[in-house]
C-alpha cells in the first residue's frame, strides 16, 4: 500500500466507464493519494468500511499515471495537499482537467487560505485531518452531483441557439433558456461545465459542443446567487466550504465545483471590496472600458443623473460610476453630465476603485478579511446590481457593471438607498435594500436575470441577499423582470426588453429594486430612451476578467463573451478572477 501504487481492494478492472456504479454508493471507486502512509492506511480502512473500492497511492505522480492509464476506472480522488513529489493542488488541477473527476483535498492544515486555494483549484471539498469515517461516507455525493450537472448540461446544449456562438470560452455562457425559470434556470448552461480554472474563461472558444464537452457553465442567476449568499451567510464566510454551501443551497444539478468556483470569486470579490475600500486605487481601468461604448456612456449618464437626482446613490459611488461610464480615468471627473453636481463628488477615488476592481480581477487589494459590514453593503449593492441588469455583457470591466448597477440602483434605490449605509463598495453599488446579510454576493453572478426595466433592460446585478421580499419591479411600475436571455440576442446579448418576468425570489427585493412601485418615472424614461442602447450593451464578458475587450462598438454583448451569463458572472466574477 505504501509503494507507488497499490491497488487496494478495488478491482483493477474498471467497472464502468460511464455513469455511476451499480449499487451506488457502494462500490464507489476511490483513489487515495497521500504520502503519509499512516493516513493512507487509515483512510483505506475507512473507505473500505464505507463499501467503497479503494486504491491507494503514496505518490502523486504514480497516482496520475494510474488515472491516465485507467481512465474511467475511478469515480473520485482523495488527495493530500502536501506531498513531496507534487503539490496536491497541482494534482487536483490536472485531474480536473484531464479526467474531470471530482477531487477532494485533505490536509492537517486547515487554514483558510489553503482551503481557499483548494477551492480555487477546483476541489470538490476540503477535509481537515484527522478525518473521520463519517466524512468519507458522504463523498459519493460529489460524484453524483458532477454527473448530474454534466447531464443537465448536455440536455441543454442542444437547445440553445447561440451556443455556438461563444466568443470566448467564457464561462458564461449563456444564460438562456432559463430566463423564465425559477431558480433552476440558472443551471442551464449549455456549454461546458465551468471549470474552476480561469483558463477557461480566458481562452477557450467554446463552440457549442452540445454533447461534447462536459463543462457546462452554470449560470448564476440572481436567485441562485441569492441562495448562495444565504448559504454562505449561514455558514459564515470563513467557514463556508463549497460542500456545505451546496447542501444548504440544495439546488439540483448544481455541483460542488460550481459552488466552489463561485465561492472563490465571491471571496475575491469580498477581499477586493475590503481592500479597495482602503485604497485609493486607480479608477483607470474601469474608465477605459467605457470609452468604447459611447452609447453606453451616454446611457450611463442618464442613469447617473437619474440616480443622482434621486439622491440615492452615494456620491462616491456615483462618482465611480460616472467615471466608469465615461471612461474617465479618475473618480474626480467632473461629471459633466450630471446635473447634480453635489452628488458627484470627485474627490473620492475609492468608489472608482471599487468600480474597477469589481470588474477586474482584484489583484493586490484583496485583503483577507472582508469586513462584514462591507460585505453587507456590497451585497446589497450587488443584489441590486445584479438584478437590475443583465445587461448583456458587463463589458469591460466595470463599465457595464456600473451601468448595470446604475440601472439597478435606480430602480431599487429610490427608497432603499437612503437607508443603507452607503459605502461605496467597489463594485457594489450600494444597494438600497437592506440586505444586511449579503454576504456572499460576490460570487456568483446571478446575472442572468435581467430585470425588465421599463420593459427594457434588466440589469442583473449580482444579487446578494435580498432582503426585501417583495420583488416588484419598480421599473416603470412593471412587476416583472425580464431575464435577459442572452441567447436571444444571438450573441449573448442580453435582450432587453425581453418579456419581463418577475424575479420570483425577490432577487429584486434585495436589490431593492422591486417593490417599489414608486420608482421614479422619469428615470424610466431615461431608460426607455436608452433602451435601444442597452440592447447593445454588452457588458463585457468579463467584468474584470482578464479579458477585457475593448471593442469599439457598442455591442457590448459581443464583447462580453458571455452575454447575460457573463454579465452577471463577469460582474461578480471579475472580481474573482484570479
Amino acid at each position: 500500500m505504501t509503494t507507488g501504487s497499490s491497488f487496494g481492494s478495488g478491482s483493477l478492472g474498471c467497472k464502468q466507464e460511464t455513469g455511476v456504479p451499480d449499487q451506488f454508493p457502494a462500490g464507489l471507486r476511490v483513489l487515495v493519494v497521500d504520502d503519509d502512509v499512516i493516513c493512507l492506511k487509515i483512510l483505506e480502512q475507512m473507505l473500505r468500511r464505507c463499501s467503497y473500492h479503494v486504491t491507494t497511492c503514496s505518490q502523486a505522480t504514480a497516482a496520475l499515471n494510474l488515472l491516465r492509464e485507467r481512465k474511467g476506472c475511478f469515480d473520485v480522488v482523495l488527495s493530500d495537499v502536501h506531498m513531496p513529489d507534487m503539490d496536491g493542488f497541482k494534482l487536483l488541477e490536472l485531474v480536473g482537467l484531464e479526467m474531470d473527476l471530482p477531487v477532494i483535498m485533505m490536509s492537517a492544515d486547515g487554514r483558510t487560505n489553503l482551503v481557499l486555494r483548494g477551492i480555487r483549484h477546483g476541489a470538490c471539498d476540503y477535509l481537515i485531518k484527522p478525518i473521520r469515517e463519517e466524512q468519507l461516507k458522504n463523498i459519493w455525493q460529489h460524484v453524483i452531483r458532477k454527473k448530474w450537472n454534466e447531464n443537465k448540461e448536455h440536455e441543454h446544449s442542444g437547445s440553445v441557439d447561440d451556443k455556438d456562438r461563444h466568443k470566448r470560452g467564457g464561462d458564461d455562457n449563456d444564460y438562456a433558456s432559463s430566463v423564465n425559470e425559477g431558480g433552476d434556470g440558472i443551471l442551464t448552461s449549455h456549454k461546458k461545465k465551468r471549470h474552476n480554472n480561469k483558463e477557461e474563461d480566458d481562452g477557450e472558444l467554446e463552440t457549442d459542443e452540445p454533447g461534447g464537452s462536459k463543462k457546462a457553465r452554470v449560470v448564476w442567476s440572481v436567485e441562485l446567487h441569492q441562495q448562495f449568499v444565504t448559504a454562505v451567510n449561514q455558514l459564515g464566510i470563513d467557514k463556508a466550504v463549497p460542500k456545505r454551501i451546496l447542501e444548504l443551497m440544495n439546488v439540483p444539478g448544481l455541483t460542488r465545483e460550481n459552488v466552489a468556483s463561485h465561492l472563490q470569486k465571491f471571496r475575491l470579490y469580498l477581499k477586493r471590496l475590503s481592500g479597495v475600500a482602503q485604497q485609493g486605487g486607480g479608477p483607470n481601468s474601469f474608465c477605459g472600458s467605457i470609452d468604447q461604448n459611447p452609447k453606453l456612456a451616454s446611457y450611463a449618464r442618464f442613469e447617473i443623473q437619474a440616480l443622482a437626482a434621486s439622491g440615492q446613490i452615494p456620491p462616491q459611488t456615483l462618482v465611480a460610476l460616472h467615471a466608469e461610464l465615461l471612461g474617465q480615468p479618475t473618480a474626480n471627473v467632473g461629471m459633466p453630465v450630471l446635473d447634480h453636481q453635489p452628488l458627484m463628488q470627485p474627490s473620492k477615488c475609492g468608489p472608482v476603485d471599487h468600480v474597477m476592481s469589481y470588474g477586474q480581477t482584484l489583484p493586490s487589494n484583496v485583503t483577507k478579511q472582508v469586513p462584514q459590514p462591507a460585505i453587507e453593503d456590497v451585497h446589497s449593492g450587488l443584489g441590486a446590481w445584479h438584478s437590475n441588469n443583465m445587461v448583456g455583457g458587463y463589458g469591460q470591466l466595470g463599465g457595464q457593471n456600473w451601468h448595470n448597477m446604475l440601472l439597478g440602483m435606480l430602480q431599487s434605490q429610490s427608497h432603499q438607498l437612503q437607508k443603507q449605509s452607503i459605502t461605496v463598495q467597489p463594485s457594489r453599488l450600494v444597494v438600497p435594500s437592506q440586505s444586511s446579510n449579503f454576504q456572499a454576493v460576490n460570487n456568483g453572478v446571478p446575472v442572468n436575470q435581467t430585470t425588465g426595466f421599463n420593459n427594457s433592460t434588466v440589469i442583473n446585478y449580482a444579487v446578494g441577499q435580498r432582503t426585501e421580499r417583495d420583488v416588484e419591479n419598480q421599473i416603470g411600475g412593471q412587476s416583472s423582470v425580464s431575464n435577459i436571455s442572452v441567447k436571444e440576442m444571438g450573441e449573448k446579448q442580453i435582450s432587453f426588453g425581453e418579456s419581463v418576468h418577475v424575479l420570483d425570489q425577490g432577487s429584486l427585493r434585495n436589490l431593492g429594486f422591486v417593490g417599489k412601485k414608486s420608482s421614479i418615472p422619469s428615470r424610466f424614461a431615461v431608460y426607455e430612451a436608452a433602451e435601444s442602447l442597452t440592447h447593445n450593451l454588452n457588458y463585457g464578458d468579463n467584468n474584470g476578467e482578464r479579458r477585457v475587450k475593448q471593442e469599439p462598438n457598442i455591442e457590448f454583448l459581443e464583447n462580453s463573451k458571455a452575454g447575460a451569463h457573463r454579465v452577471s458572472q463577469n460582474d461578480l466574477m471579475s472580481v474573482f478572477s484570479d
Binding site: 503519509d36 502512509v37 499512516i38 493516513c39 492506511k41 468500511r49 502536501h82 469515517e133
Partner: protein
Amino acid sequence: MDAVSQLQRQFVEHATSLYREGYLDDQFTQLLKLQDESNPDFVVEVVSLFFEDSEKLLNNLATALQQESIDYKQVDAHVHQFKGSSSSIGAQRVKNVCVVFRNYCDEKNLDGCLVCLEQAKNEYLLVRNKLEALFNLEQQILQAGGSVPMMA
C-alpha cells in the same frame, strides 16, 4: 477466569488513563472502531507504522535542526507530517507539541524548535510505551482466552 478478568480490568484502567491524561484522543477510538474481522490487526498495524514513521521523522528533524544553515521550510514539512500522522492515530500530546513546533518554525526560532523537538521526542516515547503496554495486555487477554474490552 480470574486471570482474564484481572487482565481485562488492567486493560480498561490503562486505556482509560491514556485518554484521561491526554495521550490519546477520540481519533484513537475511531481507529479501534475500524478494526473488524476483515482486518483484525488493523490497529496494531497502524500504530506500528506510526512508530516507524515517527522515528524517521524525529531523526530527520534532528538532522535538519543541526544544519549550519537551517531550512525551516523543510523542518516545517517534517513537523507537518508528524502532526498529520500523530493526529491520525490520536496521539494527542504529540500532535499538540507539533502545533507549537510549527509556530516556532514560522518564526524561525531555533531555540524554540529545539525545545519542541525534545518535547516531541519525549511525548512520542511516552505514548509509544503506553501503547505497547496496552497491546501487551490485549495479547495476554486473548491468549488467556478472554476477549478484549471495548473502549468507549
